[in-house]
C-alpha cells in the first residue's frame, strides 16, 4: 500500500457519525455497539464509501477504548473484532482495498493537564492495537488527537505491538494550535521522529480553513501528508449541526491541496460518499508530488520547536549537580520546586533548550530523571536535553518525554553507539556526540573529525540521518592543556564542511584552574561562535556570557535589525539601583519589596550570621505582618508577598551558608489529596510554614495515599497537612487519614480547603482544622512544642 502511495493518491472514507445520523438511527452514547447490534448498517456505510472510490475504510472503533466503554455490556475485544470483521467483509470482492483500525483520543486528559498517566494511556492503546491486529487490520489510523503526549503514547503502542503502517492526524483550531496549545511544527517533528508513515490533519475546520495548516505541514514534513477536513464549518439549526460547503466546493479546495503536495485524502464531520466521489473525480489525472526530504535539525516540546543551525541557540546547563551544593541538596530532598525554579530562571534569561542531569550516586537517578522531566515540562515550554551516563535512564526519559528530545550523549566508543543509537532512532531524538573513543580525547582537530566521521557513518547504519547529530568537539582546560584549546575550535569548520551536522560545546571548562574565569569563558565563547559553534551549553543567567551571545548575533547578522539587542539594552539606565543604605530588611519584608530583598540580604550577610538574620529580622517582620493581617489592615495578597520576600531572603542565606544549620528538624509533610489538582492554597501554607523555619516536604497535588504513607515513614514525620477543595475529593482526604492513622496512631494531621469546616474535619478524624495559612503555623507551633 505504501508503495502504491509513491505513484498514486490514496483515499480514505468520510464521516461515520454523519452517516449514522443520516440513517435516522437513534444512536446511544456508544456508536461502537452498533458493530454488534446492527452490523448491516455499518457494512452498508463501508460499502458506500468503497463504491465512491475510497481505498481505505476505517473501522467503527473511534471511541473503542477501555475507559469510554466501561459501561458497555460488550467487551472491548468483542466490539473491536466485530468492527474489523464488518469492514473486512465490506472489502470482499474489491481489489486493493484496505482496512484501517480507527483509534481516537481516550477522552481523558493525560497528566500534567489531567490525571491519566502516560503509561496508563499506553496500555489503553496497546489493548486496542493488539485486538485490531489479531482481527486482521491492514493499517492503524490514530486520529483527531489534540495532545502530542497522548499521540506519542498511541504511536508507541502501535509500533511496539504491530508491524503495520501507522498514520497519525491531529486536530487544530483556527490559530493552528490544538486545544491544549500544541503547534503544527512540534507535531510534525515529534511524530516523524517516532517513525509514523503518514501524518496529517483532520476535523475541526473545513478544507479552506485548513489550507494554512496544510502549508505548514508540507513545509516541515519529510513524509506523506494526509488531510481529512470537515465539510466546512458547522452551522446549527435548532439542535442539529449541518455543514456549509457542498462536495464540489470541497473538492476544489482538495485539488489545491493536491497540487501543493498532499497525497492522501478523506473526509471528516459532515462528509458523505458524495464528497469522496467528488474528490476522487477532482484528482483524476493528477499524480502526487514527490516529497522532498527537509533535513531540519530540531528539538521540540509539545508547544515549541527549536531549529538548530538557524542562529545561536543556548542550551542551559544549570540543572546539573556537578559542583552545585544547593542542587544536590534539592535532589536528595526531592525538592522539585527548586529545580523547576532553576528551569524557569533559565527560560526567562534566554535559554532555548535545557539540559537535565540529575546524576548523584545516592539517589535513584531513573526515577528522579522522570520526575524532573515531567515537572519541568509541566511549566516550561522549552525542549529538553536528557543528560545521563546511564543508558537505561536515557531510554526511560526519552520514552516519557513530551516531544522530540535531545540525548546527551553518545561517543565514538562502540559500546556507547550500540546502546544509544537504537534509543535515539526509536524516539526520534537528536544526539549530542562527543569526539572521544576507546583511546580517549584526541589531541588534534583532524583526529576529532575522524571520530565524528565514524559516529555519523555508524548512525546512518541505524537509520539516523546526519541532521540529527550534534557534534561536541570537546573543550580542554587552558590551564592544563593550553595548546589543545585551538584544536577544539579548528575542528568545528572541519566537521561542518564535511557533514550537515550542528556543533555544540560546553564552553566553561576552558577556564578551569585560572583566575577571572568569566573573562576567559566570555572570550572563548565569542571565539567559538566565530568558528561556527551552533549551540553553546552554558549558563544563560550569567550576564557576561549572554552579552557575548547577544552582541555576536548582531554582528553575525542573526539578530535582524538588532531587534533583540535593542530590546535588551536599549532601555537600561546604567545607574546603579542599589537601595539606600538605611533600607531595613525588616521593612522590606513587611512591605513585600521582592525586588530589593536579594540585594539587601546579600549585604547584610556580611554583618550578621544566618540565625541572627532569621531571629532579628525575619521572624519579627513576619509577626508584624501576621498581626496586620489578623486586624484586616492588610489582605491575603499582601501577606503572601511578604512571605515571598522573606523566602527570597531565606534562599540567599541558604545559598551562602549551606553547611550552617538554619532550620530545625521540624518536618511537615504537605499534600493536596488524590484526585484534586488545586494547589494554590497548599502552596501558600507551605510558603508561610517555611517562613517560620519549618521544613516542608511538599508532595504536590493529586497525591496517592501510598506515597503519603511511605513518605511519613521514610522521613519520620510528626505533622501532616492535607488539602482538598472539592466535595468529591474530601472523601479521598478521609481515606488518606484512615490509612495514616492505621499505620501511625500518634501522627498529627491538619486539614484545610474550601469545602472543609471544623465539624467535617472532626468527622473525618483529623486532629486539626485550619481556616488559613496563619492557622497552620499556630497548629505547627502547638504540635512541635508538645
Amino acid at each position: 500500500m505504501l508503495n502504491k502511495l509513491k505513484e498514486n493518491f490514496l483515499f480514505f472514507d468520510g464521516a461515520m457519525g454523519t452517516m449514522l445520523q443520516n440513517s435516522g438511527l437513534k444512536i446511544g452514547e456508544l456508536p461502537e455497539e452498533l458493530n454488534i447490534t446492527n452490523p448491516e448498517i455499518i457494512y452498508n456505510i463501508h460499502k458506500e464509501y468503497l463504491n465512491a472510490g475510497a481505498n481505505i475504510i476505517t473501522t467503527n472503533t473511534f471511541g473503542a477504548n477501555k475507559l469510554k466503554l466501561k459501561n458497555s455490556s460488550y467487551t472491548l475485544d468483542e466490539l473491536i473484532s466485530a468492527g474489523v470483521k464488518t469492514a473486512k467483509k465490506a472489502t470482499e470482492g474489491f481489489s486493493e482495498k484496505y482496512v484501517a483500525l480507527d483509534i481516537g483520543p481516550i477522552g481523558y486528559l493525560l497528566s500534567p493537564l489531567g490525571s491519566l498517566s502516560f503509561e496508563e494511556a499506553y496500555d489503553i492503546f496497546k489493548e486496542q492495537v493488539t485486538i485490531g491486529v489479531n482481527a486482521g487490520i491492514d493499517l492503524i489510523l490514530i486520529e483527531t488527537m489534540t495532545d502530542i503526549y497522548e499521540l506519542k503514547a498511541a504511536i508507541l503502542a502501535a509500533k511496539e505491538n504491530s508491524s503495520l503502517p501507522v498514520f497519525a492526524t491531529m486536530s487544530f483550531q483556527d490559530k493552528s494550535r490544538t486545544f491544549t496549545g500544541n503547534d503544527v511544527k512540534s507535531f510534525v517533528f515529534t511524530a516523524e521522529g517516532l517513525g509514523v508513515d503518514v501524518l496529517g490533519v483532520n476535523c475541526s475546520l473545513g478544507p479552506k480553513q485548513l489550507q494554512p495548516i496544510v502549508d505548514e505541514l508540507l513545509k516541515y514534513s519529510s513524509i506523506p501528508i494526509m488531510v481529512q477536513a470537515n465539510a466546512g464549518l458547522p452551522k446549527y439549526h435548532k439542535n442539529t449541526a449541518y455543514y456549509d460547503i457542498d462536495p464540489s466546493k470541497y473538492s476544489q479546495e482538495i485539488n489545491i491541496m493536491a497540487k501543493k503536495g498532499v497525497a492522501i485524502f478523506g473526509g471528516c464531520c459532515g462528509t458523505t460518499p458524495e464528497y469522496i466521489k467528488s474528490i476522487v473525480n477532482a484528482l483524476d489525472g493528477l499524480k502526487p508530488i514527490k516529497i522532498v526530504k527537509k533535513n531540519f535539525t530540531t528539538a521540540a516540546s509539545s508547544t515549541k520547536t527549536v531549529f538548530l543551525g538557524n542562529g545561536v541557540k543556548i542550551i542551559g546547563e544549570r540543572i546539573n549537580p556537578t559542583g552545585k551544593k544547593r542542587l544536590k541538596e534539592a535532589l536528595r530532598e526531592n525538592d522539585l520546586s527548586y529545580i523547576v525554579r532553576e528551569a524557569i530562571e533559565q527560560e526567562e534569561s534566554g535559554s532555548d533548550i535545557l539540559d537535565i542531569n540529575v546524576g548523584l550516586p545516592d539517589i535513584d537517578e531513573k526515577e528522579m530523571m522522570k520526575k524532573v522531566i515531567k515537572e519541568v515540562q509541566s511549566v516550561v515550554s522549552l525542549p529538553l536535553q536528557i543528560d545521563s551516563t546511564d543508558y537505561e535512564v536515557i531510554e526511560d526519559a526519552a520514552r516519557i518525554y513530551n516531544g522530540k528530545p535531545i540525548i546527551n550523549s553518545v561517543n565514538g566508543k562502540k559500546e556507547s553507539m550500540d546502546k544509544i543509537f537504537p534509543i535515539a532512532k526509536k524516539y526520534g531524538a537528536l544526539i549530542v556526540a562527543l569526539t572521544l573513543d576507546e583511546e580517549g580525547i584526541p589531541a588534534t582537530s583532524e583526529k576529532r573529525l575522524e571520530i565524528a566521521t565514524n559516529i555519523i557513518e555508524t548512525a546512518k547504519v541505524y537509520g539516523i540521518p546526519e541532521e540529527n547529530i550534534l557534534i561536541d568537539p570537546l573543550v580542554l582546560t587552558a590551564s592544563a592543556e593550553q595548546n589543545a584549546v585551538m584544536e577544539t575550535l579548528k575542528a568545528i569548520p572541519l566537521i561542518k564542511n564535511k557533514y550537515n551536522v550542528k556543533i555544540v560545546l560546553g564552553t566553561s571548562n576552558v577556564s578551569f584552574g585560572l583566575p577571572n574565569r568569566n573573562l576567559l569563558n566570555s572570550t572563548f565563547l565569542s571565539m567559538a561562535l566565530g568558528y561556527g559553534l551552533d549551540a553553546p551549553i552554558t549558563d544563560s543567567t550569567n550576564k557576561s556570557l549572554m552579552d557575548v551571545v547577544r552582541s555576536f548575533k548582531v554582528l553575525a547578522n542573526q539578530d535582524k535589525d538588532s531587534k533583540d539587542y535593542i530590546k535588551t539594552y536599549g532601555n537600561i539606565s546604567f545607574e546603579n539601583n542599589i537601595p539606600s543604605s538605611d533600607s531595613d530588611l525588616k521593612e522590606i519584608i513587611i512591605k513585600g519589596l521582592k525586588d530589593e530583598a536579594k540585594k539587601v540580604s546579600l549585604k547584610i550577610l556580611d554583618q550578621y550570621n544566618s540565625l541572627d538574620i532569621v531571629n532579628e529580622f525575619m521572624i519579627p517582620a513576619l509577626d508584624i505582618v501576621g498581626e496586620k493581617y489578623e486586624k484586616e489592615e492588610i489582605f491575603l495578597p499582601q501577606l503572601i508577598r511578604s512571605a515571598e520576600t522573606s523566602k527570597i531572603v531565606f534562599e540567599v542565606i541558604k545559598e551562602k551558608s549551606i553547611n550552617e544549620k538554619i532550620t530545625d528538624d521540624k518536618k511537615i509533610l504537605l499534600a493536596t489529596v488524590k484526585g484534586d489538582i488545586h494547589d494554590i492554597g497548599k502552596n501558600i501554607v507551605k510558603l508561610i510554614l517555611e517562613n517560620y523555619g519549618y521544613k516542608v516536604i511538599d508532595l504536590g497535588k493529586d497525591v496517592d495515599i501510598e506515597n503519603i504513607v511511605e513518605t511519613v515513614k521514610k522521613e519520620n514525620i510528626t505533622l501532616v497537612g492535607l488539602s482538598a477543595l472539592m466535595t468529591t475529593t474530601v472523601k479521598n482526604m478521609d481515606f488518606t487519614i484512615q490509612e495514616l492513622k492505621k499505620e501511625f496512631p500518634r501522627l498529627k494531621i491538619m486539614v484545610g480547603g474550601a469545602v472543609l469546616n471544623p465539624d467535617y474535619a472532626l468527622a473525618i478524624n483529623a486532629d486539626y482544622y485550619s481556616k488559613d495559612a496563619r492557622g497552620a503555623v499556630d497548629i505547627a507551633k502547638k504540635v512541635f512544642s508538645a
Partner: protein
Amino acid sequence: MKVSYVKKDLVLINEDEALRYMGYKSKIADKETQKLLNESIAELKDLAELKYVYKIFDIEKENNNISFENMINIKSNDLYKLFKNCEKSAVIAATLGFEVEKRIRYYSLTNLSKALVFDACATSCIEALCDVAQAEINEIALKEGFNITHRYSPGYGDVPISLQGEILSALNAQKLIGLSVLDSFILVPRKSVTAFIGFIKDYKINKKSCIDCNLFGNCSFSKEGERKC
C-alpha cells in the same frame, strides 16, 4: 445548539469581585495588588480563549427526576423546585481555555501572590463569560415567550457534580470547546463552568439565594455576614 468564540472586549472582568475573592473587605486594593490586578487583567485579555457552547433541551419532570431529552438525567429536589414550571432548559458549558490554565499553574509555582490575583481575575472572567452566554439565551427565551431562571450549576444544592461528564457529552463540549472532566469531576481547564438555565412562563427572577449553594453554612462570604457572592 450554538458554539461561540467570544470577542474579548465583550467580557469585562469585575475588579471588585476579584478583590472579594481574594478576601478584601474594603474595595480598595493597595498599590502593589492593584498593579498585579492590572497585569492579570491584561494577561487574561491576551491568553483567554473565551468559548462556550449551549443547547436548549425540552425537559420532562417526574418525582424529582428531570430528563433533558434523555441525554442528561438529574435527580434533585433543588433543581426540581427551581424548574417546577419550566418546559425547557438551556445547558451551557463555558471555558477560558488551556492557556489560562497553564498560566495559573505557572504562577502557583513561581509567584504565589500573582497566582492568587490571577486566579481571582480568571474566576471573575469566567463568570462574566457566562453572563454573555446567559444574555444570549435570555434573548432566545424572550422571543419564544419565556423568561429564564438564574444559572444553576452542578455542585449547587443537591445537584451532584458527577453530572459533569454527561453534560459535556450531551454538548459534545470536549470536541467543540476543548473541555474535559477528571475522575474527581473537576473540569479541565479549571476556569470553566457548566450550568442549567430554565425557560419559564411568567416568572420573576428571584435573586440567587445562598440556600441553593453547596457552600451554604460554610462559605467565607456568608460567614462574614455578606450574604452574597
